[in-house]
Each structure stands twice: as structure tokens, then as C-alpha cells.
């Protein structure tokens, strides 16, 4: 990682709102061509950081650098960033072509080139031929595609995406995220993405920043964050996790897929009874009652099919964390 060029750097940034929300002393480095996701529940400060990068919020202190140049004092129109919002990105009184051409006209790009570039960009987001339509004639997903195209046309150093898919329904959302990933890899563009959807974050990110109440809980690759959660909060926020309270006050955290079931009593303390078996496609979710706790176990079908409800089983943990 160290030899990669730094694209965006946030140094000791603080932004606090009157109600006490906000972020304090944020330090973050984003590398060239990286897809970085800020993940957290609403109000955790992820959007605050994104808006500060885009220039829509004045920071209280600290610095933001892109390509080594401080941009923290620049207004949004002077920053080499482009932002896509959750919704209402497009100007409803302009055609799609005018929407796309707006930024290029300001940059005094010749008309012929504008035409060429908007056509190419619409092709890239698979929206060819909509130039003459108005935003209201497109579906929500199509509007977001156009919004992404408009942002990309500005050839930003850093593309900022503020929950761009959260207003779309689940199926289109996963389709859009795959395409975004493809476009990002094709253009090798640096992206800062904000979401509250951990599945989305896991699917598209090179690195994830897990945030909670204005604080970075963990920064790492999806695998790192999933396999080695730094805190109980991260463990609970990302993926499924069983938390088993211990008499000494500690908590054992174990993923449902990291548990092996064997028939009969093992004589250990992880003996229990199967309460329910739910088949969820290629795997099954089995709830095992151990003492007064329910433990969730994922098993492939060829194993889950050998168990029945009320079977006595013993559990062994392949991998677990203690918090």
C-alpha cells in the first residue's frame, strides 16, 4: 500500500454542529484509484465528512488535500471533486443533454466535443439515446445513472457518492453497485462512497471505514473488517454475529458460518438443542438453544439436511473473537 500515490488526505479535521453532532480530529488517507466506503448508521458523521470534501460544509479546523494541494478554503465550484447525491441530483427543467452539458459548457468545451463526450458517457452508464428526455421521464435508477454520468463528465480527481442507491429498490441497487464497480475499475477513478448498507460496502469497497458517533471504529479491507473486527460495534454492524455473554463479563463473538455442528452431546459447555432449521437457498440457518441463549449457525444444505428439529448437538467454534 505504501508505494501507492495518495489522492486525498484529511488532516485532523473537526466539524461540530450546534447540536453536538459532527466529527472530531478525523485523519484519513485515500489512495489513487481506490474505492473507499464510509459505513455507519445515520447520524454517525459519514455524510459530514463527504460534504466537507465536496465543499458544502465549512470545517471548524483541519485540512483537506487533493493531489497534495489544500482545497479546504475553496468553494465547491473550484474543487476537483464531483458529487452524486441520494436523490434530486438532476435539474428537472433541463433535458438530459443539458444536464450533462452544464458543467462542460462552463468549462468552455467546444460544442462538438460536448456532444461526443456526453454520448460516450451515456453509453458507459448504459443510457444511450436519452439526450432529449427530461429527468421526470426516467425511473429512479436511470436518473442516478445519469447523475453518475454527469459527475464523471467533470473528470473529477475524486468522485463523491452520498448513498446514491439507497432510494432504489433492492434488485436495481445490486445491479447499480456492480456497474459502479465496473466503471470505477475501467476509469481507475478514486471514489469516496457513503452508505449505511454493510452488504453494499462489503461488495464494492477496496477499504471500509466503519463509523460510529463521529468516530472511526475501524479502517480496513472488507475481509479485515469482517474477519478481524476491531470492536464489538464493528462485529455487530458487519455481517451476522453471535454474541455470547460469559460469566466473567467478557463476550464471545462468533460468526454463524464459523460454527461446526456435531450430533449428540460433546460433554462440553456448548451442548444444545436445535430449535429451528430454516432453508435459505444453498444454505440453512439453524438456531441452537444452548443454556438460555439462541445461537445462529449457518450450514451448507448437505450438512443441514442430516439434522432434525430437537436434535441434541454440540457446537465447536472454528474462529471467534473475545471483546
Amino acid at each position: 500500500m505504501s508505494e501507492r500515490a495518495v489522492k486525498l488526505e484529511i488532516r485532523n479535521m473537526t466539524k461540530l454542529f450546534k447540536n453536538g453532532d459532527g466529527v472530531k480530529n478525523v485523519n484519513l488517507t485515500v489512495y489513487e484509484g481506490e474505492f473507499l466506503t464510509m459505513l455507519g448508521p445515520s447520524g454517525c458523521g459519514k455524510t459530514t465528512i463527504l460534504r466537507a470534501i465536496g465543499g458544502f460544509l465549512d470545517v471548524d479546523q483541519g485540512d483537506i488535500l487533493i493531489d497534495g494541494r489544500s482545497i479546504v478554503r475553496l468553494p465547491p465550484e473550484k474543487r476537483p471533486t464531483a458529487m452524486v447525491f441520494q436523490s434530486y441530483n438532476l435539474w428537472s427543467h433541463m433535458t438530459i443533454y443539458d444536464n450533462l452539458a452544464f458543467g462542460l459548457r462552463i468549462r468552455k468545451v467546444p460544442k462538438k466535443e460536448i456532444k461526443e463526450r456526453t454520448r460516450e458517457m451515456l453509453e458507459l452508464v448504459k443510457m444511450s439515446g436519452v439526450e432529449k428526455k427530461y429527468p421526470a421521464q426516467l425511473s429512479g435508477g436511470q436518473q442516478q445513472r445519469v447523475a453518475i454520468a454527469r459527475a464523471l463528465l467533470l473528470q473529477p480527481s475524486v468522485l463523491l457518492l452520498d448513498e446514491p442507491f439507497s432510494a432504489l429498490d433492492a434488485k436495481i441497487r445490486s445491479q447499480m453497485r456492480e456497474e459502479l464497480k465496473r466503471i470505477q475499475e475501467d476509469l481507475k477513478i478514486t471514489v469516496v462512497f457513503v452508505t449505511h448498507d454493510q452488504e453494499e460496502a462489503m461488495a464494492i469497497s477496496d477499504r471500509i471505514v466503519v463509523m460510529n458517533k463521529g468516530v472511526f471504529e475501524q479502517v480496513g479491507t472488507p475481509t479485515e473488517v469482517y474477519d478481524r473486527p476491531a470492536s464489538r460495534y464493528v462485529a455487530s454492524f458487519i455481517g451476522d454475529m453471535n454474541f455470547i455473554e460469559q460469566p466473567d463479563g467478557k463476550v464471545i463473538a462468533v460468526r454463524p458460518e464459523a460454527i461446526t455442528l456435531s450430533k449428540g452431546n460433546g460433554g462440553g459447555k456448548w451442548d444444545g438443542t436445535i430449535r429451528t432449521i430454516m432453508v435459505l437457498g444453498h444454505y440453512a440457518e439453524i438456531i441452537v438453544r444452548v443454556g438460555d441463549q439462541n445461537i445462529k449457525v449457518f450450514q451448507p444444505r448437505h450438512i443441514s439436511d442430516t439434522f432434525r428439529q430437537n436434535d441434541r448437538v454440540s457446537l465447536s467454534f472454528d474462529k471467534y473473537h473475545v471483546f
Binding site: E77, F85, W91, F102
Partner: protein
């Protein structure tokens, strides 16, 4: 002939519709009967009070009214004043509306409400107080004085309706424009203003029409140098025969009807209702 009987009609359309029909008919009668009467009297050469219909029909009073030089010049003056005061009012009120919509400052709501104050007092009392100030400022009997009075009357429409139009624009749409490289002024001109245009048109229309029919303030500040159409109307009612009035009021009505007809697309009940929301 069954469909003509009220009982048959009642059972055919149902109770609810029947009541609606009665209410609507009564409303139409109240609303349009005076207008119909006005139209009728405008085409009467001779009319004496208790009779329902005029004794003699004709265009005598049209010739008379259109033959009066002062009446025709008052129409031109009315339009000049209405156009000038609408334009100046736009320049003052639209930026104020934008500020009220986009920036929060202490006392914003109170400030917003204060535009209603001028409607809370009897207009004539207010004008007399204004008249005293204008007299000291040498604005009495001047074009500027009349325009100021008209602008004062328009402030509520011109700030409330555009402010609510601005507020209904999503911030992201403005932010996207900034993001794309447009400065604040360009963002306003190419994104904010066009998106708020329906509301601004409604407000402009109200201001223009309001200025056309403003009489009391003009009478007090502008008389006798500046006699607009409605001011002339006072004179006509007092000086001429009953039938000259209807002729002149129809002439007064024509520009209003034309403007409303041309702009009917923007005058949806929604735009008007949204324009007066307090938030």
C-alpha cells in the same frame, strides 16, 4: 319530462350530488349575477332604477367614455405604473424571498409574518400616516410616490409566494450546480430561478393586477397629477350617469382577464396554496 322534476333529479344523481348542485347553483348566482347585471347596464342607453331591464339599449356610453381623453390617458398611466412597480418590486422582493427561504436567522418567522401587518390595519388609516411622511419627503403628487405605494402593497405577495417556491427546490439541485462548476450567481440564474419560476410568475401576476386596481393609495398620494384607471372610476361614479360606470369597469376588467387567460397555466390552486404556507 320526468328528468325535469326535482324529485326525479334527486333520485337520479343521489343525495350528495344533489346538494352539491344546489350549493354550486347558489354560488354561481351570487358570483355571476352582479357581473351579468354589469354587462347588461353597459349596453343600456337609458336605465332607471327599479326596472329590471334597461328602457333603451345602445352604445351611447361607450362612445362617451372612449371619447373622454382623460379616461384613455388614465389607462396608459395605469399600465406604466403597474409595469414599473412590478419590475421594481421583483428586484427588491425576489432576493429577499431567497434569503428568507434559504437562510435561517433569529426572528425569521416573525419577519415573515410582519408582511401581513399592513393588511391588519384599515388601509385608509395607513395611507394617511404614509401621506404625512410622503408630504415631508416631497413625494406627494410624484410618480415615485405612487410607485412606492404600489410596491408596498405588493411586498407580501412578492416575498411569500417566491419564498415558498424557493424553499420547495431541493438543495441538492443547487449544490449539484455548484459542484459542476457554477458560481453562486450562475447557479441562481440557471437552476434556482427557473425552478422557482411558476411561483414567481404567480406573484408577479398578483402584483401587476393589484397595481392595476389600486385606487386608495394612488388617490391620496398621486391626485390630481396621477389619475389611474381606478382613480378615474371614483370620479365617474360620482359625476356621471349610472351606466357610464359599467362601461368603464368592463374596460378595467379587460386587461385583467387577458393577463389571467395568458397565464392560466401557472395559476393552479396548488401553486397559490403552496405560496401561502407558513414554515
Amino acid at each position: 319530462m320526468k328528468w325535469l322534476s326535482p324529485r326525479g333529479f334527486y333520485y337520479a344523481v343521489g343525495r350528495r350530488k344533489f346538494i352539491e348542485f344546489i350549493v354550486l347553483s347558489a354560488f354561481l348566482l351570487f358570483f355571476y349575477l352582479p357581473l351579468l347585471n354589469l354587462f347588461m347596464l353597459a349596453f343600456a342607453d337609458k336605465y332607471e332604477a327599479p326596472a329590471l331591464f334597461p328602457q333603451e339599449w345602445g352604445f351611447k356610453w361607450w362612445d362617451y367614455v372612449l371619447g373622454q381623453k382623460s379616461l384613455v390617458s388614465s389607462i396608459a398611466l395605469s399600465f406604466t405604473i403597474a409595469i414599473v412597480s412590478t419590475l421594481v418590486s421583483m428586484c427588491i422582493c425576489i432576493p429577499a424571498a431567497y434569503a428568507l427561504a434559504r437562510f435561517s436567522f433569529p426572528g425569521r418567522k416573525l419577519f415573515f409574518l410582519s408582511f401581513l401587518l399592513s393588511d391588519a390595519f384599515p388601509k385608509m388609516g395607513l395611507y394617511i400616516a404614509i401621506g404625512i411622511i410622503f408630504y415631508k419627503l416631497h413625494l406627494i403628487g410624484t410618480f415615485l410616490g405612487v410607485v412606492i405605494i404600489h410596491i408596498l402593497n405588493s411586498i407580501m405577495f412578492m416575498t411569500w409566494i417566491p419564498a415558498n417556491a424557493f424553499r420547495s427546490i431541493h438543495r441538492q439541485q443547487e449544490e449539484s450546480a455548484r459542484d459542476a462548476g457554477a458560481g453562486p450567481f450562475r447557479t441562481f440564474m440557471s437552476v434556482t430561478f427557473p425552478l422557482a419560476l411558476p411561483g414567481i410568475i404567480v406573484a408577479t401576476l398578483f402584483t401587476f393586477l393589484g397595481s392595476l386596481e389600486e385606487a386608495q393609495g394612488t388617490l391620496l398620494v398621486g391626485f390630481p397629477q396621477y389619475k389611474t384607471m381606478p382613480v378615474e372610476m371614483y370620479g365617474i361614479i360620482m359625476q356621471y350617469a349610472t351606466t357610464a360606470g359599467p362601461v368603464f369597469s368592463i374596460i378595467l376588467m379587460i386587461p385583467t382577464v387577458i393577463v389571467l387567460f395568458l397565464m392560466r397555466r401557472y395559476l393552479s390552486p396548488d401553486t397559490i396554496a403552496n405560496g401561502f404556507k407558513m414554515k
